[in-house]
């Protein structure tokens, strides 16, 4: 024990302080592992020397200047033929080379059966570029939704929020139905997640009904229409339900997503019950949906009402991270989500004139609201923690 060696921390056993250019510090030595003893004149042998110990023990003797040259030389040597060849074909790289490059890339991306895969992808691109695709009367672009929106959202749903779906059998596999959900999370991420979850579970597209503001905003509005949304008005809701679509509504609207974090999982007022009268008129079932987890993604702790009024939006959120961390604050917290679809409420047994009976409409609205609220409470009891 007496002859214990003293090893300074973090310098691999050798004193770390460098003295200018002549002897670099150990940190600098560690940064340039591949340079080597080998002089600049021998690019090929440099490879031989590199593998065994270079990364582990850079020799202190090697000077930085030749090292820099040796690093440059091997890189320049293989690249030279390529760079000299390209400029010769000034206004048109030979197609064969393009093809070779594309083949190589395609093999990387698509794997072994890359040819049909790439052909399909190119056909898709051509359809998009030449406009030869079909949208429905609401502007729903099925192809781009399936290929682009859904694939972009799926990893978020599965990996980030780890969504667990319960009671999916309560959604009819065909025909019109109205999914009514609680709304939360400052930004309507819950709608997007519900859409992707339903599509992945039963292969149906949920057609959300969006607020007027959504369609007034540039980009957001056109994306929403392409994704299958339409304006939340009675005409559109009834038209979609009559057409046999699966329609999603969030009757709390901005009151729901814009509520402070302290009020989480407390359902707000359910509008005027317009969704119930639409379901009553068309005789489709109402499927209550309770979403747990969305409240925690952007905890809303403050609001800027005067600025919001100035900009004509319902609220400007302040979360613990949002204006503080800038764009980084836009990353939602990875809460664990539970989606539970409740038992469908049938509306086809009511009289035809039931939709014009306000008392009945209010009663059904309350029933849906209570169901969602109770399910929320029971899901919260089952949840172990916010993030697990």
């Amino acid at each position: 024990m007496g002859d214990a060696e003293i090893i300074p921390i973090g310098t691999r056993g050798r004193p770390g302080r460098g003295t200018g250019a002549s002897s670099p510090s150990s940190a600098a030595r560690g940064l340039a592992p591949a340079k080597k003893p080998a002089p600049a004149t021998k690019p090929a042998p440099a490879k031989k020397a590199a593998p065994p110990t270079a990364a582990v023990r850079p020799r202190p003797k090697s000077k930085p200047k030749p090292a820099a040259e040796t690093v440059e030389a091997p890189v320049a040597a293989p690249r030279a033929p390529v760079t000299t060849e390209v400029p010769t074909a000034a206004d048109g790289i030979p197609a064969a080379e393009w093809l070779a490059a594309v083949q190589g890339a395609a093999l990387e991306v698509f794997g072994d059966d890359w040819e049909p895969q790439l052909a399909r992808f190119l056909a898709f691109l051509r359809r998009r570029v030449s406009g030869q695709y079909v949208v429905d009367e609401y502007g729903f672009d099925r192809e781009v939704t399936e290929r682009f929106f859904m694939s972009a959202l799926r990893p978020i749903a599965q990996k980030w929020f780890r969504i667990e779906v319960r009671g999916i059998e309560n959604i009819p596999t065909e025909g019109g139905a109205l999914v009514v959900s609680n709304h939360s999370g400052t930004v309507p991420v819950d709608g997007l997640m519900t859409m992707v979850s339903i599509h992945d579970e039963i292969g149906r597209f949920l057609r959300p009904l969006g607020a007027d503001l959504v369609f007034r905003l540039p980009f957001v509005g056109s994306m929403a229409r392409k994704g299958g949304a339409t304006l939340a008005c009675n005409e559109d809701a009834e038209r979609m339900l009559r057409g046999g679509e699966l329609v999603g509504v969030w009757p709390e609207g901005f009151k729901g997503i814009g509520k402070p974090y302290a009020d989480r999982y407390k359902l707000q007022r359910f509008g005027r019950g317009g969704f119930v009268s639409a379901a009553l008129r068309t005789g489709v079932p109402i499927v209550p949906l309770s979403v747990v987890g969305a409240e925690e993604i952007y905890p809303l702790v403050g609001n800027l009402p005067s600025l919001a009024r100035l900009l004509g939006v319902p609220y400007i959120p302040i979360t613990p991270f949002f204006p503080l961390l800038g764009p980084l604050g836009l990353v939602p917290l990875p809460s664990k989500w539970l989606l539970e679809f409740g038992e469908p409420i049938r509306t086809d047994e009511f009289d035809p004139g039931a939709a014009d009976d306000p008392m009945l409409v209010f009663n059904v609205t309350d029933q849906v609201r209570e169901t969602i609220q109770q399910t929320l409470y029971s899901l919260l009891m089952q949840r172990q923690s916010v993030f697990r």
């Binding site: 059966d113 190119l122 369609f215």
Partner: protein, 346 residues
């Protein structure tokens, strides 16, 4: 109604659509006579149509209706742009005062049996609060305050008033979607004929078109059948503006909303295109109309869908863009496996 001897008066025959319609109607055996009326003589051949030069803003029109024993009036003299007429005031006078005079004359004509009015889906306006598909019972979300849309709304109001006062006259109002076709000259076709098409950044309008041959056909159908009422007329299906531009193979130039107005006035002063505020709104939000009633009550089936009508129009234009599409086509031609959906390879 003595179907052997129908005498039809068509207003607005100096313009292309009116002239072609009147001419086609004159060839129909069920029609005895077609009288074309306009303030200026038509430029093309009018065939069997007897043209009377008269301004519908003038009470002379009443005398013509009575003297010629007209039993059906087809009102097509509603113009959508001030361009040809001279100015917005002239346009409004032609549209609104002209219609009022014509309806006043119709009211005094005891022999009149039918009135067909060519209206437009512009009456529904275009805004972010619109339902996806307008049915005939719906109105615009904001009542129009200026321009063509206001004219049409007023005209339809007068037509409804006329229908109340003369319940014995069959009144048919046809709200047509934007007419399109190789020969159509309208603000919208002028817009699509621009070599670079300005669009509104971040918005994508839903468009519906009606082929001009279908427009003729539905007017003739409404003239000859006994159905009254208001009907939307449009080709099936929807085309997004971005999709339409891609199908034309012309480059689009997305501009922010506020610049679209400047662009419009610049184009107007250069006489390249005519952008009215309502057209800018239409190109921002688009509009869709429900045509169920056209099929069930009116019994009319358009020959062209929106997409095929647009394809017919696009065939008459030379593409100014589409390089990317051609490059992709070349690339997929080089691939050993052509663009087959199934992928039987391997």
């Amino acid at each position: 109604m003595g179907s052997a001897g129908k005498v039809v008066l068509v207003t607005g025959v100096s313009r292309d659509l009116g002239r072609r319609f009147a001419r086609a109607l004159a060839d129909d055996p069920r029609i005895a006579r077609v009288i074309g009326v306009d303030a200026v003589p038509p430029r093309g051949d009018i065939g069997e149509v007897s043209f009377i030069r008269a301004d519908i803003r003038n009470p002379v029109i009443a005398k013509i209706i009575v003297k010629e024993d007209v039993d059906t009036v087809v009102h097509m003299a509603v113009i959508s742009t001030p361009g040809s007429a001279g100015g917005r005031n002239t346009m409004k006078e032609l549209n609104v005062i002209g219609t009022m005079q014509l309806l006043a004359a119709c009211q005094k004509a005891p022999g009149l049996q039918a009135l067909v009015v060519k209206s437009t889906t512009t009456v529904y306006g275009a805004s972010s609060r619109d339902p996806a598909m307008f049915t005939e019972d719906m109105g615009p979300r904001r009542s129009p305050r200026s321009g063509y849309a206001k004219d049409v709304a007023e005209i339809e109001g007068y037509v409804r008033g006329f229908a109340r006062r003369r319940p014995d006259v069959r009144v048919t109002t046809l709200r047509m979607a934007n007419a399109i076709g190789p020969e159509v000259s309208s603000p919208l076709t002028t817009y699509f004929r621009l070599p670079v098409i300005p669009t509104v950044l971040g918005h994508d309008a839903r468009l519906q078109f009606l082929h001009d041959r279908d427009l003729m056909a539905v007017l003739r159908h409404a003239t000859l059948t006994e159905t009254a009422g208001t009907y939307n007329v449009a080709g099936d299906g929807i085309l997004m503006l971005s999709q339409a531009v891609r199908r034309l193979q012309r480059p689009a130039l997305p501009l922010p909303t506020f610049m679209m107005g400047n662009m419009g006035s610049a184009l107007r002063s250069a006489r390249l295109a005519d952008f009215s505020p309502e057209q800018t709104a239409f190109l921002t939000f688009g509009r869709g109309v429900d045509t169920t009633r056209m099929r069930t009550s009116l019994g009319f089936e358009p020959e062209h869908t929106t997409a095929s009508a647009f394809a017919d129009f696009a065939a008459s234009l030379t593409p100014t863009g589409g390089h990317l599409e051609r490059a992709l086509a070349r690339a997929s031609a080089r691939l050993p496996e052509p663009a087959a959906g199934g992928g039987p390879h391997g």
